[in-house]
Amino acid sequence: MHCLWCNQQTIAETNWSTLLFLSRPASICKACEQKLEKLTGKRCARCSRMCEENVCADCRWWETHSKERDALTSNYSVFAYNEAIQDMVTKWKYRGDYCLGNIFKSHFHQAFKQHFHFLPKHTIAVPIPLSEERLLERGFNQAKMLADFIPLKQAETVARIHGEKQSKKTRKERLNTKNPFTITKKVNKPILLVDDIYTTGTTLRHAARLLKQNGCPDVYAFTLIRG
């Protein structure tokens, strides 16, 4: 096996547990694994940011400044945003190194089992879509790849209209964007939105609002990184 990130040969450790339980070979080596920073400890119940309060200042702002109730019930993220994960995601998403997504497979699956066990069985996973142009340019949708890691039924219920990349905008521009999504299928089951990164939460809230307006009872979000 080679580490997916540094391409060094990884040699699996032999001990009693690997002998008896035949653990799965790791996708990346220990040194690269250590560069990833998992979110731990107390964090905001709404957006998964690490903080001492129950609900962080940003989420309270969403609560007071939006006209209606916050459409997104809660977000859970797995990793903190640091330089290492930024490099990995850049290469995965923008360079298009598809198989790098597998680095996050077991973490994403584990986190789902731990933190979303309360979801009813008929919940539907909805990966945040790319616009058609962007999909052709990249060749794949990174959110779809993440959604494939979790054991929920998937549906394409929203579509995206082509526009400027979120990552090219400033915070203020992001918060004031128009809703880039349109509904393609109405669902009346709870929905788990899946995306790679939660930065301001605008994209996810746009999708959530649209879904709620079209008869969806609850919308949650599950993201890989909390920016």
Binding site: H2, N7, K91, R95, G96, D97, Y98, C99, L135, L136, R138, G139, F140, N141
Partner: protein, 469 residues
């Protein structure tokens, strides 16, 4: 519409000749592009081919199965391979093709007197320069120029390049490091004012690669095919050219069948030395520096508690004692360490120790630098201007950089990153200026390695060939 309008074809020839490109790298609209393909101006090659039981990427030559992966492609709705090796230059997919220009070849300009460099070569440099000119005139296949660190390799190339330009040839100088491209570009533009010269490296502003003379990092050669009549490859022993098989692959594809390749090195690897010894590779040796003084020979110093000191980020005692008794305490110090972590963490401890002992004045500073340092270029510049007194560095500064007057110390010279070539290059940083042609080189170790012994041996041998005892 007939695409055979000669003017536009000539324009396209200038733009695409000698390249091997993905469709996305060819900025033509679909109709025109299809027309050019069907009338035979572009020839498509499958991007990933099967070779016996292996796959091979046509662009980078990668055959390593761990560097191929499958992707469910949204264009062709199938799952197929892509190459991970050269993905930084745009993804190569199995369902795509790479295109080569097969139309008319552009006529490169001939120059009567292209070189305006007025400097003088030393006798030894002149000998090597004449040999290079001869190789280019006779269209010899390969020539290795083995010149010691600080021999003035760039200047030796000027007569050869002048000759090539007189004959209307296309020239490429490839070097492993982007820093070197950035440093050489203004020098070449000054020396060859009338010639179009472009510099290509990851993140360079110019990307076209359409000039008659191209300075590039070796990675950039991956986009070329049968392009150059004269190819100069700098530092063939250096990482990554030496370690990455796709770079020699790209270099050999980028040159024309009847081209001349000039290799430059100060520390040929075993492979080249064997080829020289068995007369399979023509070579010319330049044994003296341009100022005519011998290379400083490294001194090896044993430190018994080296590993312990370094884990605590403490400078070894031997180093402290040496620094108190240096020949010329005015020289700046260049300190090499094996890891980035050590470079960063040792800085503070070193400053504190030296201040406590009164060996470092308040206004003199110690800085560390490594490959992923964003201010790297700036720090190197500051060190050159003597704004920094001591520079802690990883092997990134082992070659291609010149500081006028420094002493060099290697901490843990027995570490695997310091192989023979690296140590010779590091020792070659000292004594490069004609005003201060000597310099001390100190290898601190906790047990001699073959690399250290060989490095000293080869420096002594080179000095002897230069006529020094």
């Amino acid at each position: 519409m007939n695409p055979a309008n000669t003017e536009t074809i000539d324009m396209h020839a200038m733009q695409f000749a000698g390249k091997l490109l993905l469709r996305s790298e060819i900025p033509l609209d679909d109709d025109l592009f299809q027309q050019l393909v069907s009338s035979g101006y572009f020839k498509p090659f499958p991007a990933i081919t099967r070779k016996f039981f292996q796959h091979q990427c046509t662009r980078c030559g990668n055959q390593d199965s761990s560097l191929f992966a499958k992707i469910p492609c949204s264009t062709c709705k199938k799952e197929h391979l892509y190459c991970r090796k050269c993905i930084e230059m745009g993804r190569v997919m199995e369902c795509e093709a790479l295109y080569q220009w097969t139309g008319p070849v552009p006529d490169w300009q001939t120059f009567e007197n292209p070189c305006s460099w007025g400097g003088q070569l030393t006798d030894r440099q002149q000998l090597a320069a004449d040999r290079i000119v001869q190789a280019i005139e006779r269209k010899e296949k390969e020539l290795l120029v083995w010149a010691v660190c600080g021999a003035g390799k760039t200047e030796m190339l000027f007569p050869g390049i002048t000759e090539a330009l007189k004959l209307g040839k296309r020239i490429c100088l490839a070097t492993p490091r982007a820093d070197v491209v950035r440093e050489l570009l203004p020098r070449f533009r000054e020396a060859f004012g009338n010639v179009t010269i472009q510099g290509l490296y990851g993140g360079s502003e110019e990307k076209a690669g359409t000039a008659q003379m191209i300075l590039a990092t070796t990675h950039q050669l991956l986009r070329f095919q049968h392009a150059f009549d004269v190819q100069i490859i700098d530092e063939i022993d250096a990482f990554p050219f030496h370690a990455d098989p796709s770079l020699p692959f790209a270099a050999s594809r980028a040159r024309n069948p009847d081209s001349t390749t000039i290799y430059l090195t100060a520390t040929p690897r075993k492979k080249q030395r064997m080829q020289i010894a068995s007369k399979k590779l023509e070579h010319i040796f330049v044994p003296t520096r341009f100022h005519g003084r011998p290379l400083p020979v490294p001194k090896l110093r044993m430190c018994f508690s080296l590993k312990k000191d370094l884990t605590n980020y403490v400078p070894p005692k031997v180093f402290i004692r040496w620094i108190q008794s240096r020949v010329n305490p005015k020289r700046q110090l260049l300190l090499f360490v094996p890891t980035i972590e050590l470079a960063e963490k040792m800085r503070r401890e070193l400053t504190k120790r030296l201040r406590d002992l009164g060996l470092l004045d308040e206004e003199k500073a110690i800085t560390s630098v490594h490959a992923s340092d964003p201010d790297r270029a700036e720090k190197v510049q500051q060190f050159r201007q003597k704004a920094i007194f001591m520079l802690l560095t990883t092997t990134i500064l082992e070659r291609g950089v010149t500081f006028p007057s420094v002493d060099v110390v290697v901490f843990d010279a027995g570490h695997v990153v310091f192989d023979e070539a690296a140590l010779v290059q590091i020792a070659g940083r000292a004594g490069r200026s004609p005003d201060d042609p000597a310099g001390e080189v100190l290898f601190l170790h906790d047990g001699k390695t073959d690399a250290m012994v060989e490095a000293v041996k080869s420096i002594v041998a080179m000095n002897r060939r230069g006529g020094f005892r």
